[in-house]
Structures are given as structure tokens and as C-alpha cells.
Amino acid sequence: MLRTTREVWLKRAILWHFVNVLLSSSYRTRALGFGWALLDPLLFMGVYYLVFGKLIANRPPSFMLHIYVGVIAFRFLNTSVSQGAGILRGQGGLIRDIPFPKTALPLATVTARLFDFAAGWLVAIPLAVVFGHPPTVWWMLIPLFVLMQALLVTGLTLITTYVGLFFADIQNILNVGLRLWFYMTPVLYPLSLVQRRTANYPHLYYAYLSNPMTSVLRGYQSLVLERNLPEVGFILYGIAASVAVLVLGVLVFSRGEGQIAKYI
């Protein structure tokens, strides 16, 4: 797969071609087009704030920004991983008839969804102004955490792409699993809440922190809301976990890449 990744790089046109196809198929048929990429997270932010904001006492309006950042970050993970699971089936005819590096498909999926994520960050700018946390120089560091998340998402997407070839039911598992993962990450509540509640069970707290998405989100939240870097532990753990997942994804996909055309 490292070889084919090199090949994908040499044939970037193929990657861009698929990114284009994926982006246009997501939005071409909708009346609002690309507007949905921007509107969808805003609507979810509103719903979550209405439902969960009341449950958590004394949440200032700026907590909506906290929710928004979490929602767009999770949307990037969610859409990449579940679209990846179906992409090989969707492109079966091409895979059997035309020789091209298969790695391009999961990589294009992640890249297309990264565009949505970037658009989400653009919307975050006026939102941050409205909620009284206008962008600062700290925002310049956001791309580093986006990169960290992109490594994680790429690794997971490589895995779901390959597994999705053999098991159609991975979609059902992903639906539930991603939902669970979302609630186990500090999106709808602050991390400090978990810390307080688990004060007597430090092991439980560390188990909670083993979720690499928590590290990623702590990065975004610190930069946007606290105008600071997250604790160094989150940075180091986030990098280590993301790289590990990416390596795992590369191993799984490269083992199976030669089999894809046979069993599509």
C-alpha cells in the first residue's frame, strides 16, 4: 500500500477525480447544494443545545460554540468512516474493469469530507464572534489538530473500507458504534464534568481519556474557547493514538488490497 500510496501521489488526478465525484454526488442532487454542509451542523448544534443545554445547569450561550466544534469534528469522522464502508461496492464496475490504485477510494472519501470540515470551520468564525469568543492567534494552531484527526480518520476509514467489502452489516454496527462514541466524547458536556464525576474512580477517568477523539476535541476546545494549548498529555496521546490507528489501517488495507477486485 505504501507503493500504491506513492502511485496515488503520482496520479493525483485520480484522487482529485474521485474527490470531485464524491463532493458533487453529495450535493448536486440537493436543492441547497453545498449549503447543507454548512447548515446541517448548525441545525444539530441547535437541537443538541435545546435538548442537552437544559440538562446541564448554568451553561452560558457560548457553550453552543463548544457543541458546534464537537459536532463538525464528529461529522468529519462519522461521514468518512461510514461512506468508506460503502465505497467499494459503489464503484464495483470501475474496480473490475479499469486498473487504478484502489487506495485512491478511501483517501478520496476522507479528502472530500475534509472539505466539509473546513467549510464548517469557516462558519465557526462568525459563530465565535456572535458567542463572544472571536478568533485569536490561537486559531492558527487549529490545522495541526485537524491534521491529527485526519490521520485518525484515515486509519479508521481504511479499515471500514476494507471490512465493508465483505460485510454489508458493518453499516449497522457503525451507526450504533459511532453514536456511542459520540456520547463518550466531551461534545455535549465539558470534560471537567467527567473529571468531577469520576473524582473517586481515577481508572475510570483514564479509561475515558483513552478515547483519541477526546484529545482531538480538547485541542479544538482549548484553542477556540480557552485561548490556550491543551494539556501536553492530550497532544502527545492524540498524536500517538492517531498514528497507531493509521498504521493499523495501512496494514489492514495493504493486506487486502490485492483481493478487492476479486471479491467485489
Binding site: L94, P99, G258
Partner: protein, 274 residues
């Protein structure tokens, strides 16, 4: 062959081809198998979990290893400038052979070396998206076969002209007749500047006028030192287009030689069996 490249590595990267009579495609003892359990029915997690548990219980006795070998040790060399015809009964491994040459299937055993860029026409679908217009599909396939947008734009008129489909190029591919689809697929495959063209039995759908044209195009490609591998069931087409022929049987090369001779032997054998 020091300058040949392994198929996994340099497939389609446009390797430099030294000028001399040398092989464009070399297959060394190529085996390719399909694990039947993946086809028996759609896999489910439940089924896999059950069979995983049961195979753990019956350790050492693995039942799930039935493999259908579509290619059983193929040794074959195709030289530059060859137009190679491939004949054989249904299920003899002809289409699998093409997909292995294209690098779409990785061989389970043995080695495949190819030199130069490969283009393919492997099915009636030709990888086309039926709902999209012909023009867009030409563009898509061209990109996947390694051309730039600009190169395709330069060539699109020639492609449409050769396919002879006129204004249909802007209509969805599903409105095409089988012959039109085959002609468009063929036209893309031979116009994308590749060194090796692999074509499965789809040209049969073309009319007489188009078949004559195919002959001229193959001749011209051979002159330009390009390589064509053409799977067919038409002995007439094979003797008309090809400079060499192989006869596949049960995943092996049964015979190899001049097209007329192979055609005669193959037809005689088929009559004997019928």
C-alpha cells in the same frame, strides 16, 4: 529482464521502454484462485462468527479453504507489436488472464511483469456510469487510465469520431445500444496513449463496418509497436486481426502459435467434443 517492472509497483506509470524486440507482458507460473466461500452467499457477521467459533472447536480441520483455481500456472510472453488472440471455452480463464495482466487481480502465485501504460476494455459496461453522459464517462475513464484533463480534451473529438456515435456522446450511456457502448469503450481504450491494450470479447456487438475498422486500428497499433491482447470467440475475427494466438483450457495455456493454426485446432477439438 532487469528493466521490467513488477506489476504491483509500476503498473501504468509509463516506464521507459527500450527500443528492441522485447516482451511487453511476461507471466511466470501465474496462479489465481477464488475462495468460494466468499461467493456462496453474502457474508454476514453472524455467519462468520459462527464459522469462526466452530472452526476453533474443530481445530486443525479447516473446511473453508475450497479454492477455484481460474489460472493454474500460466507461462506466457507477449512481445511488443504483438496482437495476441486468446481463445478457449467459457470458464477457461481468459477474462481472468486479462485482469491479471491489467493488474486488477494480483496473482496468488507466480509473477507478472508488464512494461508501459495499460488500457482496458474488459466488459460491456467498460466501467461506465450508465446514468451519466458518454462525454463525462470518456473523461472519467481517461483520467483513471492516467491521462490529464487536457490530453482528454485534445482527443475527445477523435474518440467520438472513431466510435461513430455522433450527438449521442452527450446522452446518458444507458440510451446507447450494445454496439454503441462497445464502440465507445473500444475507442477510449485505444485512444488513451497506452502501450498495452487489453480487450475482452465485446467487439462482437459492433457492426460489420466497425469490425473492418478494428482490423485497421489493430494493424496500425502493431506498427506503432504497441501490444494488444484480444479475447474472442470469433475465429474469423482472430485470424483477421491477430498476429499470434493462445488457446486457454482449464486455466492453462493449452497451445500457442499462428492464429490460423490455433483456430483450426480449436474448432476441430470443439467439434470432436460436441
Amino acid at each position: 529482464m532487469p528493466s521490467t517492472s513488477e506489476i504491483q509497483g509500476a503498473r501504468g506509470l509509463g516506464q521507459d521502454v527500450p527500443p528492441s524486440v522485447d516482451p511487453a507482458i511476461v507471466l511466470e507460473d501465474v496462479w489465481l484462485g477464488f475462495r468460494l466461500r466468499f461467493y456462496r452467499k453474502r457474508l454476514t457477521l453472524r455467519g462468520t462468527a459462527i464459522s469462526a467459533v466452530s472452526s476453533l472447536l474443530r481445530r486443525g480441520r479447516r473446511k473453508d479453504t475450497e479454492i477455484f483455481w481460474a489460472l493454474r500456472g500460466v507461462d506466457l510472453t507477449v512481445n511488443r507489436g504483438d496482437v495476441l488472440g486468446v481463445v478457449g471455452a467459457n470458464g477457461a480463464g481468459k477474462s481472468t488472464l486479462l485482469r491479471v495482466m491489467a493488474g486488477i487481480y494480483m496473482p496468488d502465485r507466480g509473477r507478472v511483469h508488464t512494461k508501459g501504460r495499460i488500457s482496458t476494455l474488459l466488459s460491456f459496461g467498460a466501467g461506465f456510469d450508465l446514468r451519466r453522459p458518454g462525454r463525462e464517462n470518456v473523461y472519467n475513464n481517461g483520467v483513471l487510465l492516467g491521462m490529464t484533463k487536457q490530453q482528454i480534451e485534445e482527443r475527445i473529438e477523435a474518440i467520438v469520431e472513431m466510435a461513430g456515435i455522433g450527438d449521442f456522446i452527450d446522452a446518458p450511456v444507458m440510451t446507447y445500444s450494445a454496439g454503441m457502448r462497445a464502440r465507445l469503450g473500444f475507442s477510449v481504450a485505444v485512444n488513451v496513449d497506452s502501450d498495452i491494450v487489453l480487450i475482452d470479447e465485446v467487439l462482437g456487438a459492433g457492426d460489420e463496418k466497425f469490425r473492418r475498422r478494428v482490423g485497421t486500428i489493430f494493424d496500425q497499433m502493431a506498427h506503432e509497436d504497441k501490444t494488444v491482447v484480444y479475447v474472442t470467440h470469433s475465429m474469423e475475427a482472430m485470424t483477421r486481426y491477430c498476429t499470434r494466438a493462445v488457446w486457454m483450457e482449464e486455466g492453462k495455456v493449452h497451445a500457442e502459435g499462428p492464429p490460423a493454426q490455433i483456430a483450426e485446432a480449436y474448432v476441430a477439438a470443439a467439434k470432436g467434443k460436441a
